[in-house]
């Protein structure tokens, strides 16, 4: 079975985002595998261990993305592909990503593609479904359970806290939601083995793509940080006075009444 994982490198969840001249300053931020993609990597390994085959992890990024790919290899993926766009593309959006991935999958016969439900940086959640559309295969988003039985796949999908059970056939693309599994911690022998696993590096030329084909369809107009949260207030005094004060604050200050 050919299993592919779409992986994105993101800021660590707790890293501070700093904006300089309208651009996000990466400074000395820590980068991690997008947490939802981590579920995808884990699930890919689980399914391969059960049903055989090979797990290939694909990312689009720069030289430094190798670190996240190596982590996925250390967890147990078999191969990794880095599509390095550092020198070729200035800007890109979900369209760009989908287009590159579509080109990457050309001629390949994936049985199962796993991606994160969203990436925690821009949280668009588009790449998975759009890629499936382009590849003309079915997709299920926000899955929290996956059982394969021959060509049939039984899926549990998270729908706002409820679970929807879906049966679908391979080939298939799924996006993974929290609760699907508990991603493993790479063992040291795993980390050492990962150093020798194949990591293929491609550029857009290798995919027969031209820069102008990849022009983003969207434009970023502005980037700004949310206003700082001010501390909460605790009202004091008699209960009646507190209620009065609360109502007046809601009316006059917060203007919600």
């Amino acid at each position: 079975m050919n299993i592919y994982v779409l992986l994105k490198k993101t800021f660590d969840t707790e890293d501070k985002i700093v904006i300089n001249n309208g651009e996000i300053d990466e400074g000395d931020a820590e980068f991690i595998i997008n947490p939802y993609d981590e579920y995808a990597v884990e699930e890919a390994i689980i399914q391969r261990d059960k049903h055989g085959g090979e797990v290939t992890v694909v990312t689009i990024g720069d030289e430094d993305s190798e670190s996240q790919l190596r982590t996925a290899l250390a967890m147990g993926a078999d191969k990794a592909v880095l599509i390095n766009i550092e020198d070729d593309l200035e800007d890109g959006d979900q369209f760009t990503t989908t287009k590159i991935l579509e080109a990457f999958f050309e001629g390949k016969e994936p049985d199962l593609i796993l991606a994160g439900n969203v990436a925690i940086d821009e949280a668009s959640g588009q790449v998975g479904p759009r890629l499936a559309e382009r590849l003309d295969i079915p997709y299920v988003t926000t899955i929290v359970g996956l059982e394969m039985d021959g060509e049939t796949v039984h899926i549990e999908k998270d729908v706002e806290g409820d679970v929807e059970k879906i049966e679908v056939n391979l080939p298939l693309l799924v996006t993974c939601q929290q609760g699907l599994n508990e991603p493993r911690y790479p063992s040291l022998p795993g980390i050492m083995k990962a150093k020798r696993k194949p990591l293929e590096e491609l550029e857009i030329d290798d995919l027969d793509l031209e820069e102008d084909e990849l022009e983003p369809k969207t434009e970023t107009v502005n980037r700004f940080l949310p206003a700082e949260k001010s501390a909460g207030r605790i009202l004091e005094g008699e209960m009646d006075d507190q209620v009065k004060e609360l109502i007046s604050l809601l009316k006059n200050e917060a203007k919600v009444l």
């Binding site: 969840t13 911690y185 040291l188 022998p189």
Partner: protein, 705 residues
Amino acid sequence: MNTFLMINLITFIIVTFYGLFLFGKAVATRITYMKLGKKSEFDLALNKRLRDIWFIVFGQSKLLKDKKSGLIHVMMFYGFILVQFGAIDMFVKGLAPGNHLPLGLLYPGFTFFQELVTLTILVAVVWAFYRRYIEKLVRLKRGFYAGIVLLFIGTLMISVLFGNGMLQIWLGEAATWTEPVASVIALGFSWLPPTAAMVLFFIAWWIHTVTILAFLVYIPQSKHAHLIAGPVNVFLSKRIPGKMKTISFDFDEDTDEEEISFGVGKVEDFDQRQMLDFYACVECGRCTSVCPAATTGKMLSPMDIMIKLRDHLNDKGAAVTGKAPWVPAYAFGNKGPNKYAHMEHETAVAEINQINMIGDIITEEELAGCTTCRNCEDACPVMNEHVGQIIDMRRYLVMTEGKMDPEAQRAVMNIERQGNPWGLSKKDRIKWRELDEDVYIPTVKELKKEKQEFEYLFWVSSMGAYDSRSQKIAIAFAKLMNKAGISFAILGNREANSGDTARRIGNEFLFQEIAEKNIKEFEKNEVTKIVTIDPHAYNIFKNEYPDFGFNAEVIHHTQILYDLVMNGKLRPKGRIEHRLTYHDSCYLGRYNDVYDPPREVLKAIPSLELVEMVRTRDNGMCCGAGGGLMWTEETTGNRINVARTEQALEVNPTMISSACPFCLTMLSDGTKAKDVDQEIGTMDVAEILALSVFSSGESVSSKLV
């Protein structure tokens, strides 16, 4: 008669040599097993070792922590050493009747003394039986084999007294006050003809002889191996208690990854000294009876870890070396570990390798339960080091298999990324000092810019920097240092994690990365003295960083506060009208023997009444946060922190104090769980001292924090 004595002598010699041979074989077999293990590190430190032997072996100091059982053991221990001379005397009497040990005029005194010793041992045997089978002390096992030693010793004692009585009748000796018991027995049986007495004497004599030899053979193959392994183990014990072994991660490129393993995944991965622990274990249960995990219903029992590993080593040793651990082998057939020794070598090895030490013998759940508090080690009369073994096995799970509790994993990954277990931004580490702008808390960098020097590096720790409750401790302590004119600096955002959590969880690789980085930072800033409010950081900097080439004077905040109060630089003025009990942090107390400085500081505060819990100082129970368990949820049994809080409540305090931010969090949660947090405050020693020092002399009796 001479013919009989001749036959008697020859039989005695044959039986004795056979007994000695079996004893030697059983011991040698176990030594062979231990040789399967890795070589142990050992530094001589003879003084410390001889002192341990003196106090722990001859002074029985650990045993006497349990007064009753300790006394029984003292009676048996010294009784058994002294009674050996009586045994030799007994041999002489049977081999050459009419003779005895050539002690001349002293002999009557000797026999009197021997009877006294014999009776003492008998009292101990009966008392021990009472404690095990009638009082049913929880920590003791109650099977037949658990108490078989009492049968051995009882038989030995009675046979010698009875034999001596018969000897008197046979040889027609008069009753004597120097052998009161034997004389009474002789009087009671005076109606016996001498020949019958002779026969009975030899029966008693042979029972005595055979029992001694049987016991000798039994010793090395049972928990009584502690007679040999115990003292040796005490002598070989770690110089710094609880100090962890360093793993080397240097290996050449050609190493086969499949072969690489870190920590202890199979019994041969233990070092030989650790294996000696297994054989030294007496199954007394003192460890398990004080273990915070075991006593709150977790799956961990330190004693059972020892026993299971010992039995597993016997199985594996038998399979690998082909030597049967239980002798004489014909008496046991294919029972127990002996079956492996009797199998074909390859089959035996294949069969034993089917068993995974971690998983089949020791479960992950047991390993996860340990708070590394070392109460077990402290209680152990033979100085076994349970915690080291548990962490060695955790290291295997975490590093070789990548398995750990998901919550622990999250904490470790957060430390890896942001240098703190919550994963909060490392750029926010310094923010705590904004809590009180009046306190002067410079960073090393700021001082450098002003061309100023500092004496102490104040290691705030992740708790002090990020945890809102612990930040107050850091502020109070900094304020006290300001007041006393101590020159100090913090690393600010350059401070990372001490690595204690990573190391105790089993991630030695991450710990060493962290340690190297920290040491670089220390060296860059020429740090020679470190003071910290975190006992875990204190312990690891003081005792474990030297292995990586960093040596500084490391001080806990209660130690420096003690000095400052004693030399008058800090004067507690405000009266604190509270009844307070102090909880010992494991890493301060049991790991580093710091018991008095925090107490003395508290005693220096006017009006403050200090009361001790039942379990205090070296037997103080853990709060439940050590060994990385601060970051995981307790799902089985009762909560450790609640159990400890209940112990504190027993002495009716109005305040509970501690000198560790982890302990304080646990106890404060404990008071909430017991619904007494409205009445009983929980505060760090530094905070209480600050309250008194910065008071204008008034008294405080209201509820604090």
